[in-house]
Symmetry: C2
Subunit: 326 residues, 2 copies
């Protein structure tokens, strides 16, 4: 397929713009009515580094690439607006799979009111998808960074952790996993293949007075360490309080690893980790519950003054052995 034909086929998959769009695909650049502040993030998924094609359908690869980028906007508490895709296709990738990538991204975009407003297609030696996502905000004081955590803040995470890590361990060790009920296996896979960016929860938490936030892409231990460093605080997390996704405990037991380790260091959860002043705890819970995509909020630790680091504790105090991910 020639490049021009491919681009025309891709454009048919994509929705025509939203109310912000003045010009989109078909020109040198897209033109969009702006909000007062632009919130922009870039995220790339590379075959062989971030995923293997055999493990995911093209639709899932497209979904995951956009979800990872939108998750960064969720962590700022921004309202998403547009996405731009730089697609690099290896020889022979073919029209059907290429359209599958786009369809997966387009479906997720539509769910969140996002317009895929432009992009770029190129040949390459390996498949990669790079999404630039732009959100809009009227007041930068309502956007959260990593640097606002204060001693005394409570730490929470959205949703449940460990499913993507558990699923990847399954693939490595025992892909059939006959001991795992089929629904649980499907649930683990779904969490890995189609992560949900927590955009509504992110905006709700920012509006409810949270101090700092980050999304969990590298794993709670690593990502909380970014919060600790940027804010200059010590973060103490309770391993026992970590919310485990369905199927994680069973998978961990069968594979002989600690479930809490999968939840603490596994990565790719795309949940949010947020620091909230104690007085705003109730408001944060209510705001997330009232958002149009309600999700559980689990309180997993506290922010302390001290050397910037993350320490996992159980009832007996600080634990050793979780430092390696930092």
């Amino acid at each position: 397929m020639r490049e021009l034909e491919l681009i025309e086929a891709l454009e048919r998959v994509l929705a025509r713009g939203g109310p912000r769009i003045i010009r989109s695909r078909g020109d040198d650049a897209a033109v969009v009515r702006a909000g007062r502040y632009a919130v922009t993030s870039v995220d790339a998924l590379v075959e062989g580094v971030h995923f293997r094609s055999g493990e995911l359908e093209p639709e899932e690869i497209g979904h995951r690439a956009l979800a990872a980028a939108l998750s960064d906007l969720a962590a700022m508490g921004a309202m998403p607006g547009e996405a731009y895709l730089a697609l690099a296709l290896p020889p022979g990738y073919g029209r059907d799979r290429t359209l599958g990538l786009l369809r997966g991204a387009e479906r997720l975009a539509r769910e969140h009111g996002v317009t895929i407003a432009g992009g770029n297609v190129t040949r390459a030696g390996e498949l990669s998808l790079c999404f630039t996502v732009v959100g809009w905000a009227e007041d930068p004081a309502l956007l959260l960074g990593r640097d606002g955590a204060h001693a005394g803040d409570l730490v929470a995470v959205t949703g449940a952790l460990g499913a993507p890590a558990a699923y990847l361990r399954l693939l490595e060790r025992d892909a059939q996993a006959p001991w795992l009920p089929r629904e649980q296996r499907a649930a683990l896979r779904e969490r890995y293949a189609r992560p949900r960016p927590r955009l509504a929860a992110g905006r709700a938490l920012a509006a409810a007075g949270a101090h700092a936030m980050i999304d969990l892409s590298d794993g709670l231990a690593s990502d909380a360490a970014h919060l600790a460093r940027a804010s200059g605080v010590r973060i103490e997390l309770s391993l026992e309080a970590l919310p485990l996704a369905d199927g994680v405990a069973q998978t961990a037991a069968s594979l002989g690893v600690a479930a809490a380790e999968l939840a603490a260091t596994g990565g790719e959860d795309y949940e949010l980790c947020v620091c909230v002043p104690p007085a705003a705890r109730g408001a944060a819970e209510a705001a997330v519950r009232a958002s149009h995509d309600p999700i559980a909020l689990s309180w997993i630790g506290q922010v302390r003054a001290g050397r910037p680091e993350v320490v996992f504790c159980d009832a007996d105090g600080p634990l050793r052995g979780y430092e390696h991910a930092l």
Copy 2:
């Protein structure tokens, strides 16, 4: 070098933000004070597809990647604001070359008042740089698309054409080129290695009443065909009127190709091709001359009613043999 160290080293190369920047690197997303309209384009350079590392210094690769993206903003007549880089590094690429990529891009960014406000670094099998660039405009009526050309418009190009194509032919056939004066060889190489995005000329032409514009990345024949298709017009260009860059005529003669063919189909010139109503011809020339980066404007043809296509003519009428690039 670990990823975090690399990111810290990269951040030291990049300038601290401009007046628009509220948050930049170090958070999940950059936050920027917006103009009324955002103009956004994405452009990717992939090793082995768009360049070969052995032919360019890392600084030049960084420059070219950003220049290609900014050239799209130039073609819209937009004021550039920020750039976001997704960098994919192959194993062993190393710290020095990586910093070189950034330095080349940062220098060009600074020349044009652009802030590299964020990005992403990942491992990959091959080197690639993907720049998302964002420009700002207060009035979308002052932005040019490809679709505004009218029958009767005059067609112009900025600068001079054919140098990158001539240089690539040199590399293929006779890299030493002893018959070419050293300065001319250096000039050809410079045009290939460090293209200049025509941002000031693009804004001047848009403000002077031009109807449609595109930047020359694929080559005049292909890019003018995009204008013709989007506008639904026939574009007639004079081969004899094409402005040749220094050294192109000599190189073409020595290699036995037509100089005009290099200029018409060569690509990677990153000049602008613009359609201007006859009444605005003087204003367009004056505006480009008065801009802070004055550049020659050559009148190379006309827009006609008719089937959307590009036809090259000489004094005797339409020529055959240039269709292949369309």
